[in-house]
């Protein structure tokens, strides 16, 4: 790794999701040197886990491919995967970041032929599918993984399986002796793009996410639609594999609730409206979707989409925050209980599957930032002069959809470029 050149005119991008990629590309394409630090084995982040985007219902893989090609073609960008920033010292124009790189156990000889994956037997939770299935101990995170290079689970090391993987590789790509490395990188500005994570649904006790098989989160529902997902693209429920035709969506699951997340997560209304079209896509007129909501926040141009879903006679809107869910032990159906606001009717309704439109929280706990940084009550990074040359991009700054995250990333790239330009001027 000694070939990485980092100076105080380098922009360090922390996080290689859609925001980090965008910020890195925008800066690199105007000639700035950029280093992207990505924690997982490949870039792309949560966008790689989406089936479709709203409101156009196009596939995220399309835009992702464009960005990946731009990155591959740009010599100003260096991507470090399986890397984490553990410390950051200095000020705008002069930062030193300590970066920990975890061993991948696979070197650049890898052609992603898959022989190692076929050779090994041990299986591990598949994070890409929100642990709904398993992957082999030697694996490629997903089909569009960049870099397209296999990874060995750390739990494999020292086992016979690891040796099997090594023996199966024709290109001498597996290096079982690879060690953790620590680098110190100079940087003039830092773009913090560590993104979001779904709120822990098990904390919403009355909804029984941890007790009822057929209560899942919106991010998990999204994975069901992927042909390479845990169900091979079938819309079936976890308990018995029955087709989930009667699906309920519960809005504000965790959001706008002082017991959980105080803020509105912004994406969940549109996500559920979008996902209601998945059910129609699979089952046509047999689809029966219920959306339980406090109020639908489909702002400006999204309103057209909302109206389109409202016109779908297979979709019902119930103005009510569901009070609790109990399981019908006989058929595994979750039963939703509550009172609707339009008439105060008490309901007790069974559905095949319940999807919690789960809220968004920052992926980095506000107490564990490696640097002094201004965050708001929800843990999102504020735009504050006290942050010096550290700029938040995308969901580390607020709950945003992809479109707005990309706008935010572009803005942060411009802020970082200004810092670098000042450094360059001073150094003549």
């Amino acid at each position: 790794m000694s070939d990485i050149v980092a100076t105080n005119q380098t922009i360090l991008v922390v996080g290689g999701g859609i925001s980090g990629m965008t910020a890195a590309l925008e800066a690199a394409e105007v000639g700035k040197q950029v280093i992207v630090i990505e924690k997982t084995p490949s870039v792309g982040g949560r966008v790689t886990k989406l089936y479709k985007y709203f409101p156009k219902l196009c596939f995220p893989t399309c835009g992702l491919e464009i960005n990946q090609r731009r990155m591959a073609a740009n010599k100003n960008i260096t991507v470090l995967t399986m890397a984490e920033v553990t410390d950051l010292q200095g000020e705008a124009g002069n930062y030193t970041a300590t970066v920990k790189i975890s061993p991948r156990y696979v070197n650049s000889n890898c052609t992603a032929c898959g022989a190692c994956g076929d050779a090994v037997e041990a299986e591990f939770d598949n994070e890409h599918n929100y642990n709904m299935d398993k992957h082999k101990g030697a694996y490629l995170a997903h089909d569009m993984a960049m870099p397209k290079r296999y990874v060995l689970e750390p739990g494999m090391i020292g086992t016979d399986d690891a040796q099997k993987a090594k023996d199966a590789c024709k290109f001498d790509a597996i290096d079982l002796d690879m060690q953790e490395e620590t680098l110190e990188l100079k940087a003039g500005a830092v773009i913090w793009a560590t993104g979001w994570r779904p709120f822990d649904a098990a904390k919403i006790q009355p909804y029984g996410y941890d007790r009822i098989d057929n209560v899942i989160t919106s991010v998990e529902f999204e994975r069901l639609m992927d042909p390479k997902g845990p169900t091979g693209g079938k819309l079936v429920r976890p308990s018995d594999g029955k087709e989930a035709k009667n699906v309920a969506f519960i809005q504000c699951a965790g959001s706008r609730d002082r017991n959980y997340l105080k803020h509105c997560s912004r994406i969940c209304c549109m996500a559920s409206l979008k996902q209601s079209t998945y059910v129609s896509e699979k089952f046509g007129d047999d689809a029966n979707v219920s959306i339980y909501y406090i109020d639908i926040r489909a702002i400006d141009r999204f309103d057209n989409f909302y109206q389109k879903v409202q016109d779908d006679k297979n979709v019902t809107f119930i103005k009510s925050k569901v009070a609790n869910i109990v399981e019908n032990k006989e058929n595994g159906n979750p039963t939703l209980k509550g009172v609707d606001t339009e008439g105060y009717h008490r309901y007790e309704t069974e559905h095949d599957l319940v999807v919690l439109a789960i809220g968004m929280e920052p992926s980095v706990d506000k107490n564990t930032f490696p640097i002094e940084i201004k965050v708001n009550d929800e843990g999102f990074i504020e735009q504050d002069e006290a942050n010096g040359g550290v700029f938040a991009a995308g969901c580390s700054s607020d709950a945003l959809d992809v479109n707005r995250a990309v706008q935010s990333a572009t803005a942060s790239a411009l802020r970082a470029i200004q810092v670098i330009n000042k450094v360059a001027q001073a150094e003549g």
């Binding site: 706008r256 002082r258 925050k321 569901v322 009070a323 609790n324 209980k337 509550g338 009172v339």
Partner: protein, 205 residues
């Protein structure tokens, strides 16, 4: 209508929300309700309420004064606190329900035959006398709340439990006369009287 009730109607005219905010315990929280309905759905006795809490809050904002204050709904609250725990805006719903019930009582327009209200009154009268709850008299009064014959029936039905409690010292027949009191009974009664004066002054203003 009682004088005090007429006075309040005069004072607040058509602004019942303002009246609730000024006079009902925790009443200033009412406007924070966002009508999500989680309180009504979480109430274990909810199906027995004429108007669940969420609806009461909307009725207050809609100025439905008589319907709210004469309602039996808030008297159905058992203080299980499920609504408070689940309310996404942390409204102290249980307290507001008791606040409404208490305010209606102050105005003298509460539903007179509502059993919870009757029991609450029995409990208060019992407690306010000696500063201690006289459980024997409270039980007797409760049994005979619905007439003498019914009282005998209930008492006979409960005889086994009563004897058991006597045997284990959980109930004393000495309580029938006088009963135990707080150490400073006069002081206690003076305190209650003062509190009632303060409360009356607050409402009258």
């Amino acid at each position: 209508m009682t004088d005090i009730n007429t006075g309040m109607v005069e004072k607040y005219r058509n602004d019942f929300l303002k009246e609730v905010e000024a006079n009902v315990e925790e009443g200033d929280w009412v406007k924070m309700c966002m009508q999500c309905g989680v309180c009504s759905g979480s109430c274990p006795l909810g199906s027995d309420w004429d108007h669940p809490p969420q609806e009461l809050f909307m009725m207050i904002r809609a100025g439905k004064r008589d319907e709210v204050l004469q309602s039996t709904s808030m008297w159905m609250c058992t203080s299980c606190y499920n609504c408070i725990v689940r309310c996404p805006r942390e409204l102290p719903i249980t307290h507001i329900m008791h606040g409404l019930a208490h305010y209606a009582t102050r105005l003298g327009i509460e539903p007179k035959n509502q059993p919870t209200r009757q029991f609450a009154q029995l409990f208060w009268d019992n407690l306010a006398k000696n500063g201690r709850v006289n459980e024997l008299w409270l039980g007797v009064n409760l049994y005979f709340m619905n007439g003498f014959v019914n009282g005998i029936k209930v008492a006979l039905g409960m005889a086994g439990i009563g004897l058991g409690m006597l045997k284990t010292g959980r109930l004393s027949l000495k309580e029938l006369v006088g009963g135990h009191t707080v150490k400073d009974k006069k002081g206690f009664q003076a305190m209650i009287k003062k509190a009632q004066e303060l409360e009356a002054a607050r409402i009258d203003n």
